[in-house]
Symmetry: C2
Subunit: 407 residues, 2 copies
């Protein structure tokens, strides 16, 4: 495929990608767009120029500040819109009105792409679960249920923010080592978690279940996800009902939703599952995705050091299995719900997806390029996550999710 | 106060109450109303007849299928509307248009009163936490953090339903006693949890905290809450990240939101807290509420047996403390968020708020009036919760939340 637009060859937003997002150009009018190279296809303008037919309908749809209604139309429609824009971008010559339909991506402001209903966080990397288990429960690292259940829990959707939003270091209760009375303090163990999240594209009714083989029909697309964590708050609060204030002060996502269709060429088999899962979780074929991931840490006024290289393919439990499990009891899902993978760690030390693991609970400081070291995140540090899939010339990427920690 | 309407003296919906809800009268037009005796004040009709001024504004506001926008106007407005209706109901004579403004409550269909954003479930009864702890962790019933933290976790908002909605018994993974391989099965330990929930009336920004002394300004009102639970699914899945599929197949609420203002006469001191909470949780005055609670179980085609009498005043942690804790890390809240108390058990066996506690994990069957017994809920059983506060002639009640378990 070849477009008349000038798209840098290393762009995440190639003609094969065309992810959806919500942007504005400083006019305070958030609207739907699709990223292509350094540009955005303004879908309101595209509708206005008749690209999709039914002008009024599509103009109104894309002029909304979230994509929920568009996504709810279902894959036949959302895929048709994506293919239509692809065709338009591949016309033999620059089409009339191109300049009215394209916006400058570099100067646009991005918003949360959907109104998130419920947010669920899974725990699907066996390397991460084992690493954390070794630190929190040395005698019992991987709990007996882990290889049977795609373990997950409910998180807070109100505090999910988009790339670039600063995150304030949380205060809370912390139990100092060796003491039995907690103190109130700013977190001293501020961390990131490298995750991917999918956005639900099709709703179910209460009582309905989703068969694992059909689960991907319910997934619209993916974003990068940083599940900011305050390890000391988490450690004191998490028994017996799970993480709460150690997590819900903020989570960050990348602004462009990469569709499952764009990621199709990058499907791979996941790790062998042993024991074999129960029937309702049993899948065939390639259900994982080969998506390279990296995390950079930039101290205030200093250059970035990439501190983690990982890959989404490492996940033990696939998104299809997560969704089949989530609904096997009849729990209903809604368009715009977000489900994150849990920290994606790989087998090697440089692939661990959190500071907790990289510094092994603070015992092994990480060396940065400017000569400084880190065990956990310091005030002023910026964490930036990137993700991309590539096969020959075909590159489909996520851009980035970044956030600076403020004291 | 005396109204020209005939309100039964034992009605939960006295002239002192006037709770808000969303109803329809079979016309498929859900709209806002206030309960009074066996009637509903139709707020759209009341606005139409000029009761509140600004006719168009209030008609449009109350014609919505949820109360979020109304609640977001803030207590000065919502209290003014409530007082205005109270005054109208206490006019010396039946006012003109009364019959157009009143609807029959007994034949109305009730809806969820708000669009729920995030839902949080606390664990604030020391009797419940101790009882459950004894069964799940005999060596360690009340965990060390419990007396320091109003422990809570995030739940699923999509599956919260209104009074009268049947609940399907969930399937899921269960670990049979003495085995190490789970099976897939319908839950064999289906339970209720007697809770109260409050609805957030005022939003905060990410990073903002709510001082405990001001927390009640952020609470619009309360409903009864049944946190249906599948104990066997919960037990296998809950470590280390907390309950998930054992809870998220459904929760039920009563349809009428009783305002904090209506509950003011029933404020009481809570249990003494020992050790003294950290500063951000320290309160003075009466922060608990004296609300009688009961749970009835009706087998299919048989009469109800009341199996639990409890009271909201037993809660160790108050709503103000829950909300101060929830936001102390900067977590933001939104209008319509729902926060439940956790099971409200009292000190005596007949006040335990779940079958798990009443039957002591199935070891002590409960005797019903029809001669049958129960350890957990059977298919066809209906669970009904009721709540009311009373002082002399002043009664302020919640009506009920009921649900039948289907196989």
């Amino acid at each position: 495929m070849k477009t008349w637009l000038n798209v840098p060859s290393d762009s995440d937003f190639s003609i094969y990608n065309l992810p959806f997002g919500i942007f504005d150009t400083g006019d305070g009018q958030p609207r739907a767009g699709m990223a292509i190279g350094d540009h955005i296809v303004d879908l309101v303008a595209a509708a206005e120029h008749g690209l999709f037919g039914k002008k009024r309908f599509y103009k109104k749809l894309f002029a909304q500040p979230v994509l929920n209604e568009f996504i709810a139309l279902g894959k036949p429609t959302t895929n048709r819109i994506r293919r239509r824009v692809q065709t338009w971008l591949c016309l033999p010559d620059t089409p009339e009105h191109a300049s009215q339909i394209l916006a400058d991506r570099r100067s646009a402001r991005m918003h949360l792409p959907v109104r998130i209903g419920d947010y669920t966080d899974f725990y699907s990397s066996i390397e991460h679960a084992t690493n954390v288990g070794k630190m929190f429960r040395p005698d019992n690292p991987l709990l007996p249920n882990w290889r049977w259940i795609p373990v997950g829990y409910h998180g807070r959707s109100s505090s999910i923010v988009v790339d670039g939003t600063p995150i304030r270091r949380p205060h809370g209760q912390i139990l100092p080592p060796g003491q039995d009375t907690p103190v109130f303090s700013a977190s001293r163990r501020m961390d990131f978690e490298l995750e991917m999240a999918f956005i639900v594209g099709k709703e179910t009714a209460l009582g309905e279940t989703i068969p694992v083989e059909k689960a991907e029909e319910y997934i619209f697309g993916l974003v990068l996800f940083n599940d900011w964590s305050a390890r000391d708050i988490q450690r004191w609060e998490y028994v017996p009902l799970g993480p709460f204030l150690g997590k819900n002060f903020g989570s960050s996502i990348s602004p462009w939703i990469v569709t499952l269709e764009a990621l199709k060429p990058f499907r791979v088999k996941g790790p062998k599952q042993n024991p074999a899962p129960l029937d309702y979780l049993r899948t065939t074929g390639s259900r994982n995705y080969d998506i390279e991931l990296e995390v950079g840490l930039s101290p205030q006024n200093s250059n970035e050091t990439v501190i983690c290289h990982s890959n989404m393919r490492y996940l033990y439990w696939s998104m299809a299995q997560q969704l089949a499990h989530h609904t096997v009891n009849g729990c209903n899902i809604k368009v715009g719900d977000m489900m994150a993978s849990g920290t994606i760690s790989g087998p090697t030390k440089d692939s661990f997806g959190s500071m907790l693991e990289l510094s092994w609970s603070g015992q092994q400081p990480i060396q940065l390029q400017d000569g400084s070291t880190r065990t956990f995140i310091q005030d002023g540090d910026t964490i930036t996550m990137r993700g991309w899939a590539q096969k020959g010339d075909v590159r489909v990427g996520f851009g980035q999710v970044g956030g600076t920690v403020l004291g």
